[in-house]
Structures are given as C-alpha cells and as structure tokens.
Symmetry: C2
Subunit: 202 residues, 2 copies
C-alpha cells in the first residue's frame, strides 16, 4: 500500500536493526484518514470472505481494526491484555509472549462475543514473531469459529511471524512489508519479485 | 443522544448501584456505526471550536476518539497508561488514580505531539470521578496548549466528575448522562429539566 509505505519512509524512526518507531501516525498519535484508507484496503483484499467479526488486541490494533469493521459493517472485538488473571468461566484465555516487553500476558475475549458460526478477520498493527497473531487465532478456534485471515498494517518480514502463519495454513495480508531496517532507513519487500513463490506457497 | 441511550437501555448490564457494563458495544466488543455516530455528534457540539488535536486514553477511548478525529480531520493522540515509569525527558507524565482498579497509573503523552498552539478536545468513554479526565487536561496544560472541552460517551452523573470539571471552568459534553443505576435498570438525567440551571452554571 503506497500511501502507508510513503508515511513509513517519511515519519518512521529506525532504532537499530530491529525497531521501527511509528508513533507519529500509528502507535501513539494516529492519522485517522490513513487509518480509514487502511481499513478500506483490508476490506478490498478480503472481499467475498463473508467476515462476521473483526478481532484485534489493545491498544494499537483498535484504530485499524475499527476502520475495517466500520467498512465491513460488522462488530469489532478487541482482546484485552493482562499480566495475570483470576480464572473465570465466561472468558477465553490464551497466553501470549511479548519479545519486545519480555513478558507473558494473558489475552482474553469474552465468550459472549464469539460463536462457532463466526468467520473472523484478525487485524493487528505489527507482525514480527507472530506471538500475538497466533494467540488471537487460538482464541477464535477455541470456540470453533474460523479465521478468514490476518490483516497486518506493518510486517517485519525479516522476522518469523509471517512464515509461521503461512505454514499453519492462514492467509496473511500485510500492507507494508519490511525487508530490513538499517541506518540508511527502511527497505520494503519487493512484492512483484515475490509473487511467483508466494502463489506456490499459498 | 437517543441512539446511544437506546443501546444502553437494551444492552447495558447494571451491576449493583455503581457499575454499568457496556462491553457489547463500547468496552470490549464495539459497534463501529455507533462509534461513527458518536464522533459526528461530538463534532456537531464542538463546531466552530477550531480543534487541532483530539486526545484520549487507552484503550476504550480510542474508538470514539478516532471517529471524532476522523470527522474533524485532525490527529488523534492516545495517552498511555503504565504502572510505573522510568523518567524520560521526552514525555509528559501525570499521575491518575483509578477508583475502579484502586491503583495509580502514570499517564503519558510524547512531547512531540502537543505544542502550545494546540487546541485540544479530550474524549473518553466514561466520566465518573473525573480522575482520568483531569489528568488529561493537566497534560494539555503542561505544554501550554488549551482544552476546548471534554467529549464523554457515558457520564455517571451521580458521581462527582462532571461537577469537578465544570467548577474548573471546562466545557463538558456527555452523550448519555446517567442519573442512577438500580435493579430496575438505567435512569437518565432529564436534560430538558436541567437546561436552565446548567446555562447559569456555564
């Protein structure tokens, strides 16, 4: 998605070889018009998938998730993150490890809002190691609902998350795919060059 | 706002005399069309106020905040909540006590996203004791920016937050004002009856 790549190039701050700071338009301050365009692009890519719910995780997934849900005219659910939790019968829980924060969180969704006939699009701001993404998929599958796929705003393609999700049979649509981060800036995956091998993989 | 009051009446769960659970459309699962209508209503009420930024707090303020910012075509900033914090020069910090969770959080906004010439509309999902709301106002005022007012989705009018903000000279626009919660359900403030005294107060 060119509009997003341009924004990353203009405003993204590269810290080391691993961290891309995008808090001027995605993670802390948000550009609402860009969020709307992101939601529209996810809906275009998942057209015909008969999605009944959008699922994301607090906090930075809420904005792109909401815009996607608005465009699809379906509810958005945001999973909550907590350090530890008293077990309760009315919630679905999965453990998710954060490499960034080096801690494990309990990620929860109320059972009232997901059912076996739901077809769920999972949205998140970043895909790196895929821990949060696969945790959300396990939540969906715990209730017997199906995952239509993932909609990722920024994918760090040099980390293993995307391949892990593809290997598990999921569809992954990432709007900006980053091949590498360095002092020279951000290099994006050349998607035209990749089309053939991807088509075979999927 | 009738559409919101109807939703609260239909789907809100009253727990005791103090707690209104609205996690089917505002706090966990979200109704995007209702969020959009809420954003449009805030913008209607604050028309002509020349707002340059919308400020809210994670997580449940993000959806109504984003829809308001989209309608105004200005950035949304969401303040982050943390238990404790290493002091850093690039952030604005205020302590906010949560009566619900009985804990004090550090609420932070990056200095890069607020400046003295900003005119800020503060959005939140709930107003009860006014702790979060006044913490956000202090953040705005720390950098010399001005608070255009507060846009609250649900106000518990039987708790002191609204009056505290009015006494401090702020404008408060709440889309649903709850007079009381009981086993019989939700009673809303009769705003037609209140207009005169409010007009005098403001």
């Amino acid at each position: 998605m060119k509009q997003l790549q341009d924004k990353i190039t203009q405003e993204g701050l590269v810290l080391g070889n691993n961290v891309l700071k995008v808090d001027s338009f995605l993670n802390h301050q948000m550009d609402p018009a860009l969020m709307q365009a992101i939601g529209q692009e996810f809906v275009r890519r998942y057209a015909g998938e008969r999605i009944t719910k959008v699922l994301t995780i607090e906090s930075s997934g809420i904005a792109p998730g909401l815009m996607t849900a608005l465009e699809l005219n379906v509810p958005l659910i945001f999973a909550r993150k907590q350090k530890s939790l008293t077990l309760r019968e009315d919630i679905i829980v999965e453990k998710v490890y954060s490499f960034t924060k080096q801690e494990t969180n309990e990620v929860t969704v109320s059972k009232r809002f997901l059912s076996a006939d739901d077809r769920v699009l999972i949205i998140d701001d970043f895909l790196a190691n895929g821990e949060a993404a696969s945790g959300l998929a396990r939540i969906v599958e715990q209730v017997g609902a199906s995952v239509a796929g993932f909609g990722i705003v920024i994918e760090k393609s040099f980390q293993p998350g995307r391949q892990m999700l593809l290997d598990a049979g999921y569809r992954v649509e990432s709007l900006a795919r980053i091949a590498s981060l360095s002092n020279e800036g951000v290099t994006f995956v050349d998607e035209t060059a990749e089309t053939t091998s991807e088509a075979v993989q999927q």
